[in-house]
């Protein structure tokens, strides 16, 4: 049977859900599943790894693992790969997952294929395989060939749903704790502190997003969008044309190089729906486009559309909600 090593993502001991996507992918490879944890993981976390299919959990201990450090994690992963010699190594394609995989790949001087959605040809223990991976943040797929003994891959985030192993794993995973042997120099990229941002509804978790694009026309014309977002318990989002003009902060940007949203409803007003914006919005359950141009890509792809000037339509919607709420 093949062996697969999965990187556990956690934030100072609490398991991050992305790990479960990588484990779910690993279960499809018909392999013994090993997990590497850099630092301490709480007991619930270890149990969850087992529920999602981990057979063996390797816990690397070191003072440097008190917080995240891409080089320290990458070195520990590289060392574990040399030690286990698995057929494949997987992480979820998050910021952290991709960075640690890249660090390990650099250290071993082997290829690393980021954001894979499926193994398209061959078995994971073959010398050559083909896989499907995402390009352009999800706008395009690439069938990529890879020649490598140990295949380092990340699984495109949210490309599959994490599910627990059928019937559960039965047994709790075997836990093997060891002292990682890390050079002191790796301390240089260990996180030394944090700024914590405001909490509450964020763009990525908002149930409704009211988005505005170039059609909003200026920095001072966002009143109706903010008001509607507030009435619906949501957040304002925007396109890159907006952030590029300095009308809204980049933290509001939806898209390939902004935030991926998945609200119940996305109201996209004055947005043309360029592919790089669309990939950030396509996970929305429903989309309502408000646009003067009924041929705009956003309109064509939306569930609902209103033709018109957003500066007239949005205030009318606000007035109608107020009227119904009494």
């Amino acid at each position: 049977m093949a062996d697969v090593l999965v990187l556990c993502e956690h934030d100072r001991g609490s398991l991050e859900d992305a790990t479960l996507e990588a484990l779910t992918f690993a279960r499809g490879l018909d392999a013994d599943i090993h997990v590497l944890v850099c630092g301490e993981l709480d007991d619930d976390g270890i149990a969850t790894l087992g529920e999602y299919g981990a057979d063996t959990v390797h816990v690397a201990e070191h003072d440097m693992f008190a917080d995240f450090g891409p080089e320290a994690w990458g070195q520990a992963l590289a060392d574990k790969i040399e030690d286990l010699d698995p057929d494949a190594v997987l992480a979820c394609g998050t910021s952290k997952g991709n960075e640690v995989m890249a660090q390990a790949a650099a250290r071993l001087d082997v290829p690393f294929v980021a954001n894979v959605t499926e193994l398209a040809d061959g078995d994971i223990d073959d010398d050559e395989v083909e896989m499907i991976r995402v390009q352009w943040g999800g706008s395009l797929l690439e069938r990529a060939g890879l020649e490598a003994d140990t295949k380092l891959l990340s699984v495109a985030h949210h490309s599959l749903e994490a599910t627990p192993a059928e019937g559960g794993n039965g047994d709790a995973p075997t836990v093997e704790t060891y002292d990682a042997d890390l050079d002191d120099s790796l301390q240089r990229t260990v996180c030394v502190g944090r700024d914590v941002a405001e909490s509450g509804v964020t763009l990525s978790t908002a149930p409704v997003v009211v988005g505005g694009g170039r059609g909003v026309g200026g920095a001072d014309a966002w009143g109706p969008l903010e008001q509607l977002a507030e009435m619906l318990g949501g957040r304002v989002g925007c396109s890159r044309a907006v952030t590029n003009n300095g009308w809204r902060p980049h933290s509001d940007q939806v898209g390939q190089t902004g935030t991926r949203i998945a609200p119940e409803l996305y109201i996209a007003s004055g947005i043309s729906g360029a592919i790089q914006h669309w990939v950030g919005a396509m996970a929305s359950k429903k989309i309502l486009a408000i646009n003067t141009d009924m041929d705009a890509n956003m309109v064509v792809k939306a569930d609902y559309a209103v033709k018109g000037d957003l500066h007239e339509v949005l205030p009318a919607i606000i007035a109608e909600i107020e009227a119904r709420r009494g």
Partner: protein, 257 residues
Amino acid sequence: MRVLVCVKRVPAPGAKINITADGQDVDAAHLGFTVSPHEECGVEEAVQLVEKHGGEATVLTLGPGDADEQLRYAASLGVQQAVLLQTDGTPWDPQATARAITTAIVDLESENGEPFDLVLFGNESADSGGFQVGVRVAHALERPMVNAIKGIELDLDNASVTAKREIDGGREIYEMATPAVLGVKEGINLPRYPTMRGRLASKKVEVKVVEVDPETGDQTRVTLQQPPEQVSNTVHLGDGPAAASAVVDVLDELGVL
């Protein structure tokens, strides 16, 4: 102070990305070209660092001769030096790309007689999105590297840099000695538009062209494919303010009122 920023020429598609008939490339026949927004912010950051600390910014790309356009765009924003590692335009895998960029950096630094205080990359390239070229280059140069950076404070006196990395709900802080390598994300700054003077000056910048040996790597492209199309039958709720009532009915139906 010396800072280097690495950018990659990519097509700038609109509503859809079309693929050539042989499935090997994006059909760029009617498209303009650009760099990833992350890299554009890298260029802006490099220019701002020079404005603040003095010194010189250099932009580097590995790509076809046409990538001259992206180098000159960076120059029009204020970058002083430009280097083109010229290929025949075939896609190189991230490992091969990183090897060539590393060699070029070693050569540039030996010519300069000192290392770049900072080498900036984009968080990921716009097209292939490998999330690794910068990490590989940093490792080969034995320099610290952190990706997903949204804030840089350079302290020349202490030869150190403080960098902030974006995470869910906040930012992690890193402190590194220079020379260091950082992968930056859009939002770190608001890139300027080129001025007329900048555009004129960029025409005069001498682009240093370095021929590189063809190399593709162990990760190869078989074909490009379209993702499954999401079809939707858009329901037209009406025109102008008169549509408000139908819209609010929908909000009610969806349970978001």
